[in-house]
Amino acid sequence: MAFTLDEGRAVDIGGKMYKKLFFIIALLSAVIGGGAQILAADATPSDKPKVEMLANVKPGDCAGCHKDAKVVPRKHVATQDLALKDCQGCHGAKEGGPDALPTTVPLGHLHALKGVACAQCHESGKPAPVSMTKCLTCHTDTKALAQKTATVQPTNPHESRHYGTEADCNLCHHQHKTSENLCAECHNFKFKVP
């Protein structure tokens, strides 16, 4: 069973811009009780580097999926056994700054480092889009979420004149490619979107 997820975009890691990547995630039979499998990409352009994203690789084991590609700075501490809270020991200090994890690592990686397994979102076992209601199983209700960002300037990104507090999370927050500041299509809101 193969997952072909969104095209990975350029990711700025430690000030370096890396090439576009393709993430292919395989929901492994390991998750469901079998051994590890690697599955081929589905209709990805041949001139782009491919990354096989494997559910049985530890979230911090960059090389497990990225192979020899340098996705963290050369002098970075070993990431193999790190979980999200370990990363935040260094990266959490300046939220939104250049070292903050949410602006340097795709959100899907953060979920993985937090311990969220692929199948917790993609519960059908197929490469299907994940609905907003799935996000809300962990992130509580939309109004409570909007309260958390109520003081963000110049406006609350989770409460707008377009959608109230009910904008679909997926409009801005992407898991397997760089998230986007949808507001910036029209407004000069300089949000950093995890």
Binding site: M132, C186, F189
Partner: protein, 562 residues
Amino acid sequence: MSRDHSQDGKVMDQYTRTVLEQGVSRRSFLSRTAAGATGLGMLGVTGCATADTATPTGAAGGDFGKSSDGGASLSFLPKPQSIADKDIATTLTFDVVVVGAGAAGVPAALSAAENGASVAVIQKAPFALSQGNTGSGILLANSDKAGVEAMISRIVADNCHRCNPALVRQWAYNSGEAVSWVIDRARQGGSPVISEGNAQHGDTLDVNGYKLDWVTAMFGPKPYTNGDGMRHLAVTAEKAGVKFFYNLPASQLVQSPSGDVQGVIAKSRDGQYTKFLARKGVIMATGDYQNNKAMSDYFIPDVKHMGRKQMGKTGDGFAMIYWAGGVIEPIGHTKMLHDFDAGPAPMCDMPFLAVNREGKRFVNETAEMSVLNNYLRDAKNAGHYCKVFDANYMTQAAKWPGKLFPPDALKNWMPEEPGPKKGVFNSLVNTHRADTLEELAKKLELDPPTFLATVKRYNELVASRKDTDFGKPAHLLVPVEKPPFYGIHHTVRISAICSGMLIDDTHCALNADGRPIKGLYVIGNLGGGFYGGVDYPLTVPGLSLGRCYTFGYLVGRQVAKS
């Protein structure tokens, strides 16, 4: 297959006949793809396949796709899935069901309730939504009838003579009553709406020598808009008994075996279906489809690279009515692209030097803002242009159309100016001042050498008193030479697409035979026939919202009394 295009003895008008012949319906799509496939030799040896056996392919159909049941479909109009009764969690029955709570839907619901109907409104968003500020109508008591007819003729002409005049006439003779009613009822809901009268209608108080008198609902100033206004109107509607169901997108219409529309099925975010049965009729008011990229590229490729002002307008109502047998107006829909936010709105049509994103002059600047999108359709320009003037603008442009704002007032539209701003969206203002043209170019995101060369050339034309590049009248040629310099960086984006479904003058949707689909009514930007030109005409400020209010008011009452 023979087609009876007559409407029960009525002589069919030119507009309706044309849309039936050229519009997009399930039947026309099938027959056209069959014809296309035959032309390409893709139908097998007999060459006489019927529409039902045609097999459209990517090669034959372009953007056409196949629906999951194998039947042909436009890919952006997905066929509704069959929903079994056992999967319906709740069934509710009302006299009237309105789909969409906007500038047409909320007035329709309130109007129906005031005329004795039980009414439900199903709305995809968490509240009523609308845009713009101004909605206008003609007060008949103080207007010449010849003036009303002259106004109708002017609007029809500004629609390139391609609309259904009966609908324009219906707006003209009912809009004064409807807009006055909206103002009154919105106030009852707490709205600070201003009844502006003739203030915005200086150009249309006299049409061909005949007098007109206007009523204008001004839901403003910004950031208060018609969206807030419709939310206030919804308060009045709720008091009148209308039940609003928010966060609940409609997904398909319920039809009898003979095709009459009996209700709507809506699907909540968690996948629960609710069936709304309508004893008297379903009024569709779901707006346009500007956020449905495939559909937009198909019907109105002009705006492929243009930004969208609205969100979530995915054309749901088009798909629902199409699959109920309705007809979408032919390709080449009318578009509305404006920018009233970057600088003062009354200065937007002033013929100052205009440059595109390259920093080059591109037009005789007497062309109004509402048509400039046609020069800026490519991916690079994407609706961006700048109007440029110098320190003498208050005297040199004093007699130009519109209203000038002095330098101190212009600061309200300058993002660099600190302090609170009034009557604007802070995040959309884009006016700049600079002491040099190089500095202004940078602030306007233009290439300085190109921009400087353009200004130099323009000043030469001004000095010669002849615009040998674009032919702008000599009295409108003023130099850009005295600092400080000013520039307004406009970005026209899609406010609305205002072509829609084929309807008759009772706003009942028509099928491909030109016959009414009983129980199905269409208003607002989902309704066709009112426009038809390349661009929405700015003949009458507030025509768009005035039309939405008027048809909501009329159709709500009509369906309630049916």
